[in-house]
């Protein structure tokens, strides 16, 4: 059902996403440093960190089980797979029909389950704490995320992300109130799922507040590198899902190879803006208490539901 250029493009895109993901993270960190009046680190700092980690010797607790050692690879694989489903540059992705938006959410859930299991594997107090908190955020964010995606699915009549993007990119520039609600909900889910400031602080190692860091506390060297890289890909994937649903313009259509350079440029602009926006949000807001996270995410859920109901109402 697909030909060679499509498959080549599929592979190219997923490799590109994996390679470019730390760059986005570097850009967010740089913007944040500027906004906070600090001297910004190099945009390539995440790459240097990964290279450093890969070269170190891994230290593993004596009684770690295979689950612990395998998890970084599974996390990385899940995120790589997600990067293959999301239309980043063009909608001709022969792999995309194999997994729709529901499967995409399930891939993130799979990664989360393994990350939490690995955290509990060593049997330290922090590991269990991190796993518990991560799953708490997860079960709150997942329904909100699905509702957001369902709103888009109802508009386009499909749960295939490529079809959704094709439909949304070709609509006339009308205001969809349902999508506006969904966009706010999606942004809140993005912040929570990627351990960003109002919910978690990616730079802290303060024991009592950390979520994501508590989860990966026991990892070192190449394992840690893979986990961190996977987190960067996850952020990238979430951003591009957001673009695909809410600002799909500029993406190349299936078979339209001439539109590709323009698509790359459009993506770069969108990522730059989104990264700066994320840094701004992280600068102007403070981290919540853990138990405000449920309120934050249930607000996101309610907004997503409102968006869906608006769709049904407006459509008649």
């Amino acid at each position: 059902m697909s030909d060679v250029p499509d498959i080549a493009f599929q592979i190219l895109q997923s490799v590109l996403v994996v390679l470019a993901a730390p760059l986005v993270l570097g850009w967010v960190n740089q913007c944040r440093a500027w906004l906070q009046n600090r001297t910004a680190p190099s945009i390539c700092l995440p790459y240097y960190t990964l290279a450093k980690l890969f070269h170190k010797d891994a230290v593993i607790a004596e009684h770690a089980s295979p689950v612990f050692r395998l998890t970084p690879y599974i996390l990385f694989g899940c995120m790589w797979l997600a990067a293959g489903i999301v239309p980043v540059l063009a909608t001709s992705l022969p792999f995309a029909p194999a997994a729709d938006i529901i499967a995409l959410v399930a891939v993130f859930a799979l990664a989360r389950v393994f990350a939490s299991l690995a955290a509990m594997d060593i049997g330290t107090a922090f590991g269990g704490l991190g796993a518990r908190r991560e799953m708490l955020i997860g079960f709150l964010a997942e329904p909100a995320m699905l509702m957001t995606l369902f709103t888009a699915a109802f508009i386009s009549g499909s749960t295939q992300l490529t079809t959704i993007v094709d439909t949304l990119a070709h609509r006339e520039l009308a205001l969809y109130p349902s999508l506006a609600f969904a966009a706010v909900a999606f942004l809140m889910v993005l912040l929570a799922e990627n351990a960003r400031v109002p919910v978690d602080n990616p730079t802290t190692h303060l024991e009592l507040t950390m979520l994501h860091e508590a989860l990966i506390l026991e990892y070192s060297a190449r394992h840690l590198a893979l986990v961190e890289w996977a987190a960067a890909i996850k952020l990238f994937a979430y951003m591009t899902i957001g673009f695909a649903l809410f600002v799909p313009w500029g993406i190349a259509e299936a078979g339209d190879w001439a539109g590709l350079p323009f698509a790359v440029a459009a993506l770069a602009v969108k990522l730059a803006l989104a990264g700066a926006g994320l840094a701004l949000i992280e600068t102007v807001s403070a981290k919540f208490r853990l138990f405000l996270a449920p309120e934050f995410l249930s607000t996101a859920f309610l907004l997503a539901v409102l968006g869906m109901l608006t769709h049904f109402l407006v459509r008649g």
């Binding site: 089980s65 694989g77 194999a98 049997g123 922090f126 009549g157």
Partner: protein, 674 residues
């Protein structure tokens, strides 16, 4: 194939009965029950599965047996729906029976022979429930099933808690049976013929059809563990020996789903959308209740029992959506919902059977059932851990295993909502999908808790062991137990990876039941692609999914190995540099649920005691109870006690008064008869 599936299925049922009786005959000869009866029973189960599969592709067959009362013979019939449930019963029970052969290895002989009899009578009764084609045989088989399972639940009847669990089970089972009987009575309408063919032809007014629906729904729901008739389930399932828990949770609950589908779709017919809304509401409440209470449990088997409640809710969500679509005249979407519900029925049987067997292995080999006593079992029981992990991932609805496929199909059914005419129902359906998403994520959390606490981490000090394990039990479980678990684990993979083939089978079931089928595009998509409606709308290919994920994981491992050294140093856990580490500092099962208690606090009935800061002997206690006991069960029990105490006033214990009663009765009768 020369053997007709119906004859084959009857022969298999008879074989189970024969094995059960034979297990009893050489009294005290446990070796027969252990070495021959259970493996033979597993083979019979496989044969039954094959006949069921065959029947799903053939036209319905029926037969009148020369059994039963004079003038009231038993009718049996095997159609695709019954064939599908026989497939479920045979295939899942095969794994459980093999496992039982290993599990009952050290059982006392006199107990084992009795368990063998009850076990096989139970299996045969479940087969007869699906084969029955008249209300008479159906009720006989249904009651046999209830009684056999009651005796299995009360295997350890010397414990008072288990006796009362068994009594509660029997009580609710019979309440359900009465409702089913009344439902048959309404359908029957006084014609004197209780065969299903006659019940099917009965013309009912909408009112009586709705009454019959409610009776069937709550009657079968009581057996399925649906809210608010679920109270027996978390008591009875953990009380039974583990293979029996697996049978009850995996298969027996499914006979209730069978009954529901059979009576509502087939016998009553003319499904109304209002019924679907009722099913949806109860299904959603059951789902959420089941998973939230499962998260609060620390007894592994009880936790799994609550998850059975949850999964029955998920099946009901699929059924309810299907009924809504049928009621509004959208049969294609209706069949999709039915297919999703039946698929989840099969999936739940497979993974819940597997999980109960895993819990049984821990109980049998370590004498533990409290999660807070376990820890680090992956090192001493690696194989059990592996199979349990597969079951845990499957029940958490993670791709590419089977739980995900049926939940995906349920989501796809909900996404058909825009075709509905009724505005409120149209916007309700996606909300039920959101409920399903929430339940799925909570289930994942619960199984992270179970697997993380039981199998990962460091061993905890057992404080409530059920029994001290014998010396020869120290290792992993035996080969028969492993075979049983491996069979069900393979089922999780097969059902997860080849859903398109199952879709064809279930479409046959739906077509034979309702006369409608899925879209042609869905059926023509080939074995690789699962397409519920059209490929443009949605598709999923688990095989490609698995290949890609395994491919990229292997590629990552290869690249990391190729470009970097693979050096590893082993050391103490870091834990933020905290020096002292004891197993007691790990999270417990109760601690893991703390955030849930915080978020969903109002839904629980919590009795908590927080010690003050200057308490010399601080003890934190927490008790979580089921609200239903207080607003439903206990008031009903008090009412029954009150009424019976009033009726008891009649009993004076003096013969003259009883003679007076007889005299008054006679006078009254004479007045009426004249």
């Amino acid at each position: 194939m020369t053997v007709s599936p119906l004859i084959g299925a009857l022969a298999a049922t008879a074989a189970w009965l024969a094995i059960g009786v034979l297990a009893l005959v050489p009294a005290g000869n446990a070796a027969f029950a252990r070495k021959i009866a259970f493996p033979l029973g597993a083979l019979v189960g496989l044969a039954l599965a094959v006949f069921g599969l065959q029947a799903a592709w053939e036209p319905a067959e029926s037969l009148t047996l020369l059994l039963g009362l004079p003038d009231l013979p038993f009718h049996v019939r095997l159609d695709p729906l019954a064939g599908f449930f026989l497939l479920l019963l045979g295939a899942v029970s095969a794994g459980i029976s093999v496992y039982a052969a290993g599990y009952f290895h050290d059982e006392a002989p006199e107990r084992l022979t009795l368990i063998g009899l009850q076990y096989f009578v139970f299996l045969a009764a479940m087969a007869l429930v699906t084969l029955a084609d008249d209300a008479y045989l159906f009720m006989v088989a249904w009651e046999t099933m209830a009684l056999a399972s009651y005796f299995l639940v009360t295997t350890d009847h010397h414990q008072p808690a288990i006796r009362s669990a068994g009594f509660l089970y029997l009580l609710i089972a019979h309440l359900g049976a009465i409702a089913i009987l009344l439902c048959f009575g309404i359908l029957h309408g006084g014609q004197g013929d209780y065969s299903f063919a006659a019940l099917r032809d009965a013309e009912l007014t909408p009112f009586w059809a709705s009454v019959a629906f409610l009776l069937a729904f709550f009657g079968f729901g009581a057996k399925a563990g649906m809210l608010p008739l679920h109270a027996w389930l978390p008591e009875a399932h953990p009380a039974a020996p583990s293979p029996v828990s697996a049978l009850m949770s995996g298969i027996m609950l499914k006979t209730a789903i069978y009954g529901m589908v059979r009576v509502i779709y087939d016998l009553i017919g003319g499904v109304r959308w209002e019924w679907g809304v009722i099913v949806l509401l109860i299904g959603a409440a059951t789902t959420l209740f089941g998973v939230l209470y499962a998260l609060m449990q620390h007894d592994l088997k009880r936790l799994l029992a609550y998850h059975s409640v949850e999964n029955i809710g998920i099946i009901l969500l699929g059924l309810g959506m299907s009924m809504v679509f049928f009621g509004f005249g959208h049969p294609a979407a209706g069949v999709l919902g039915l297919v999703a519900a039946l698929y989840h029925t099969l999936n739940h049987a497979v993974f819940k059977g597997l999980l109960f067997l895993g819990a049984g292995a821990i109980l049998h080999r370590r004498g533990l059932r409290d999660l807070n006593d376990m820890g680090g079992l992956i090192r001493s029981m690696p194989r059990t851990a592996f199979y349990f992990l597969i079951g845990a991932l499957a029940i958490s609805a993670l791709p590419p295993l089977n739980g995900f496929v049926s939940e995906w199909l349920t989501f796809q059914t909900a996404l058909q909502a825009p075709i509905l005419q009724h505005g409120v129902v149209r916007s309700l359906l996606p909300l039920f999908a959101a409920m399903l998403a929430l339940a799925g994520a909570l289930t994942a959390m619960c199984f992270v808790k179970v697997f993380g606490i039981a199998f990962l981490g460091q061993p905890r000090e057992p404080r409530h062991p059920v029994h001290a394990p014998a010396a020869h039990q120290a290792g992993d479980c035996g080969p028969m137990e492993r075979l049983g678990m491996a069979w069900l684990a393979a089922g999780c993979f097969v059902l997860g990876l080849f859903p398109a083939s199952m879709l064809l089978l279930l479409n046959r079931v739906g077509t034979s039941l309702t006369g409608w089928g899925l879209s042609d595009e869905a059926l023509a998509s080939g074995w690789l692609w699962l397409v519920p409606t059209t490929p443009a709308q949605a598709s999923y290919s688990p095989v490609i999914f698995l290949l890609v994920i395994v491919g990229v994981v292997l590629l990552t491992i290869l690249l990391v190995r190729r470009f970097y050294h693979g050096r590893v140093r082993y050391s103490h856990p870091w834990d933020c540099g905290f020096p002292e580490q004891t197993p007691r500092m790990q999270d417990t099962a109760d601690a893991f649920g703390q955030s849930i208690r915080h978020v969903f606090g109002p839904l629980y009935l919590m009795k908590r005691h927080l010690p003050g800061p200057d308490d010399p002997a601080p003890r934190f206690t927490l008790k979580i109870e089921d609200r239903h006991w207080y607003w439903l069960y206990l008031p009903v029990a008090r009412l029954v006690e009150f009424v019976s105490s009033r009726v008891g006033l009649l009993q004076r214990g003096r013969i003259s008064i009883y003679l007076l009663y007889s005299f008054i009765t006679l006078i009254a009768l004479l007045v009426f008869v004249r």
